[in-house]
Amino acid sequence: MGGYTTSEIATIMAMQGIAGLSLFGVFLLMALGLAIIFGQMGVINMAHGEFLTLGSYATYVVATMFESYAPGLFSYYFPVAIVLSFLVAFGVGYLLEYGLVRHLYKRPLDTLLATWAVGLIMQQIFRSIFGGRGVSADAPDWLQGSIQLSQMLFLSRSDLFVMCIAIAMTVIVAILLYRARWGMRVRSTTQNRAMANAVGINTAKVDRNTFALGCGLAGIAGSAFTTISATTPTAGAQYLVDTFLVVVLGGAASLLGTVASAFSIAQAQSILEFFITGSMAKVLTLMVVIGIIMLRPQGLFTLKVRQ
């Protein structure tokens, strides 16, 4: 295992740090939607992964359409794909809240079961439409290749792209939550629903939009992930456990906490991966996170959440 010189260790740390940054982008983007739904509303959405997959497939469809109908504009399909992924996931999320989730707010554990069922059904629908085989859209030219930082250090463009989207979305969500009137309504609903109702906030509407926004963000994440992995019916579901851990470790309802925990988990896993096998790195990270949650169940950063 050992046998590295000090300078090599330094290089490894730098390299893995950058790899960890890429993973951080992935984690953050996944967790953002969930941080809103779980963090603000206390709802466990087990179908979150499927919304991610939905965004990926939407992007794949857009890419295929561009390839067939407008090959000249292929390099620019991504902006269209991202917007569309968001809209599709937002729309389905909206319907899901209206048709299902709102009936279960008083039974959070039942929401978990119901959304799991929805996820199962969505997976099977994806499989029927797109087949079980993984699909992947060709990345546009400007997302291929990497940026050389030094002889050993590089950052691939697609990773950079994912990271930029993640940061942009975080900023937008932060502004929405903490600076916009909408966010004020969401937070007041979170803190005291009855009072919020009393002062004239339509809390049912707030719930619906919050849930749909969380799903829409998952759609964007799915869209961005098409540049780094294949899309299969179960692609999103694989991220589910990681995503929940990021949000729980960060502390529900704390956006800063989500960012911090995504960063720490990503870096820990990335550095460990270099020295032990990927499988064991994953187990170790999971166990440490479970351990921390046991010691500090409220998460790293805490706010009062609606029960």
Partner: protein, 419 residues
Amino acid sequence: MQHSNWRKSIAALTIAALGGAGASAAGANEEYPTDEVNTTGLAVTDDTVEVGILHSLTGTMAISETGSVEAEQLAIRQINESGGVLGRQIETEVEDGASDWPTFAERASSLLESDDVAAVFGCWTSASRKAVLPVFEENNGLLYYPTFYEGLEASPNVFYQGQEATQQIIAGLNWVHEKENAETYYLIGSDYIWPRTSHAIARHHIENELGAEVVAEQYFPLGHTNFRSAINQIRLKNPDVVYSIIAGDSNVSFWSQLNSAGINADNQTVLTNSVTEDEVKAIGAENVEGHYSAMKYFQSLDNPHNKEFVEEFKEMHGEDSVIGDVTQAAYLGPWIWKRAVEKAESFDVDKVREAARGMEFDDVPEGYVRVHEENQHLWSKLRIGQWQSDGTAEVVYESDLIEPDPFPEDVDIDPDEME
């Protein structure tokens, strides 16, 4: 029992759906009377014989196993059209293993104990094969297993149409060692028995036979999508050859991340034995272009039998379908069984097994294969294909016929030496 009638009717439906249009021979089979060709109570009548197909039609493995089902159905249809086996039309009972190993075992017992099928074509992953193996051994059934796999097994109840690890690995390593003058190797794989065993064989061969060095050995869980650490290791260790046995959809992430990190065929040799035409379709040809796969079969093989096979396969299953190594191996299964049955002039498993030993086939898509006299694997060639921008492989090397050796003697490595 009511239940088995019900099952039979399903089987009949399945056959109808398969379009088993081949007319069945009328009347009693005079040349091969049923009570003579079937002394062990298999589902054989005067004009039909029942076989099973057991693959995952649903779940995560469905993607990989569909091609095998399609190939087996093609072979069975062709056999039926050419008059069947001992004058009997093959009826197929298709069972779904649902990507779940206990389900595979369940379905296998149902095929062998309730349906009394004469042979089963099926399984894909090692795990599913290991799960059904006891069932086949207890009921003395016959399994035709299509996948290239790790070896370490030679059950009298299984015919292995895929290559075992030594067939796939050693010739490939020799080739790359010679061609690239490769002295350092980086081994990477998915974390389960096939890649691990294969890498153990590879490491042994690299260190002891080639006198070269393995700079690292790295494993990731199945379905893993983040290979940045592995890519960093490759950069740091700068091996002459990266040897990859990554399975399934992880391949897409691995190859596209490798490519976008600027590691491509111009500056790094990558040899894999887990990428077939099926995977390339998902990975994208631009990400694997110029790299090498070690397989016994590529769709582009230039021989008349293969051309005919590819044409008929596409006719039956669509122009877009691709044929990988395992699909071709699956296609061999029903043929090997048919020929052995006809040679034995019996469906009895013990006689079929005996008859198959040493049997030669020179008209199969991959060219020539021979059933091994003892271990029931196939003698076959290894080919190295270089991936082209259109997703096909150009064969750059073809070995001699290689003997299957599922229990390599000298691969025993002291575990302390690993890591």
